[in-house]
Amino acid sequence: MGNTTKTAPPGAAPIDAGPHRPDHGDLAALKVVPTRHYGRWAAAVAVLVLTAQLTHGLITNPVWEWGVFRSYVLSETIVQAVGLTLQLTAYATALGFTLGTVLAFMRLSRNPVLQTVAWAYIWIFRSIPMIVQLVFWFNLSALYERLGLGIPFGPVFWSIDSNSLIGTMGAALIGLSLHQAAYAAEIVRGGVISVDHGQLEAAAALGIPKLRQIRRIVLPQAMRAILPTAGNEIIGLLKGTSVVYVMAIGELFYQVQVIYGRNGQVIPLLMVATAWYVFLTSVLSVAQYYVERRFARGANRNPPPTPLQRARRFAANLRSAARHDAPVTPVGGGR
């Protein structure tokens, strides 16, 4: 950083001194002094000091009990609980978005009955808090002791005890999925209506079968609008699974509570849960980045490089700079 500022060589005329036109031929030889942003420097220092304080506090405050954290974070119980959290997230995402897609196309269909039913479903399931709904499903047997198959309003051929059919885990999954479906439906519908109408006309003019139009032409383009919001929803769902602790299912948050209920180490165990949620969310965020990139095919003339490609290019530049003192390719450029 130039503390010493080299201005024009001694003897040269100052640029706009006097009535004479400045000689622009000389300008190229002059050294450029960049503007100094003192405010930026001050703000950066303040923020860095605060961050250092916070980090220092985290490390040195004995109440965090990092030893306890270390002994639990990879323990079998916790890892199993994380597995259950992931299972709940994966199944509820799959079921929720499948049902949501069906509901979205019901709302978009020209059939008024389908439209109304889908609208009513979304209205109801967006209106009930997830925890209330979960407890409802948990107590399904109080509502219907037995569930059966048969003719509507007619005889029943086969029936089963409701509790043994769905169980706690089933109730949790149904609750999460049905809740998720209502939101997924609106996200998918938003994506579909964002696709240019001309695309459907072109597909129709070419005689492409209806289902294929949706699968091959509409959905891939709708995905561009669906993915950012869907990423939000899946991450929300991952964290939302912690709500099923009310049903005593051994997912991450429930298990953490059980352990700190036993040993009283509340803070380090909450940190265990936090660390896992942050880790899983980070993995999902990275996955989202790459999925979005894939569906952006054709949207940009030159797709921007991935962070990995950027890092590789940066490393290659460093290496070649070490050898020849010259960069091979610009770090940020196109393909």
Binding site: D196, G198, Q199, E201, A202, A203, A204, A205, L206, G207, I208, P209, K210, R212, R216, I217, P220, Q221, F295, R297, G298, A299, N300, R301
Partner: protein, 254 residues
């Protein structure tokens, strides 16, 4: 004398209170090129879109190669066709849009093979070979792997023409194919269409390019106010129009 390929009889079409077509009659013979001219709002595009049933007409009927479009006749009743059958009918009608409407997430080649594979159930390999030949014909053999946004407007429209040709349609409909293009790109698209006129494909072209109409049309149709005002060979309609409205329009665009 060749037979009638496209037969439009007494077609009316309105959007709410707005009456766009008020009884259009039009016969296009097999292998002929018909150019439709007319001021904007005269119903040219609506007529074209009615021919491949993108718009359902309110009255009248349209047939292609003797087959009613959108309906099936049984005795003294017309039954609306199911969507599936309408889609099958459309595979005989190529349509080129003003805004190209290429599928932006598919490459040029994938845009072209999509309909032959999914609608005509052609094997992929054969469809790809045919598509490559079509790309060559429109002068874009080297652009098979390019996405539409990587192509210029003129190139996109040429891919769109190849896509329409891939179904080997009985009729090709062009809806103002050069209106969305920069002036210097119009020529390359018109050249491709001109080239097609030599192959004896039946075509209906809606355009504002009067000199192009003069060059390629067997019949020029002047549409105004939702009716055919005048039609005939270019020499008579363009050079010696009988009707006042035709003369007024031509004086504005020429």
């Amino acid at each position: 004398m060749s037979g009638v390929m496209v037969d439009v009889r007494g077609v009316h079409k309105g959007f709410g209170p707005l009456k766009v077509l008020r009884g259009v009659d039009l016969q296009v013979r097999t292998g002929e090129v018909t150019v439709i001219l007319g001021p904007s709002g005269s119903g040219k595009s609506t007529l074209l879109r009615a021919i491949n049933h993108l718009e359902k007409v309110n009255r009248g009927w349209i047939s292609i190669d003797g087959e009613l479009i959108g309906y099936r006749r049984s005795g003294d009743k017309l039954y609306e066709l199911r969507e599936k059958d309408i889609l099958r009918q459309r595979t005989h009608i190529g349509f080129v849009f003003q805004n190209f409407n290429l599928f932006p997430h598919l490459t040029a080649l994938e845009n072209i093979v999509e309909a032959p594979i999914s609608a005509l159930r052609r094997p992929r390999k054969a469809a790809v070979v045919a598509a490559e030949r079509l790309l060559e014909r429109v002068g874009l053999a080297d652009k098979a792997g390019a996405y539409p946004r990587q192509l210029s407007g003129g190139q996109q429209q040429r891919v769109a023409i190849a896509r329409a040709l891939a179904l080997e349609p009985k009729v090709l409909l062009f809806d103002e194919p050069t209106s969305a293009l920069d002036p210097e790109l119009v020529g390359e698209v018109l050249d491709v269409i001109k080239d097609l006129t030599r192959t004896g494909t039946t075509m209906i072209i809606v355009t504002h390019e009067v000199s192009f109409a003069r060059e390629v049309a067997d019949t020029v149709v002047f549409l105004d106010g939702g009716v055919v005002v005048e039609q005939g060979p270019p020499a008579s309609v363009l050079d010696a129009p009988q009707h006042e409205r035709t003369r007024a329009f031509l004086s504005k665009v020429l």
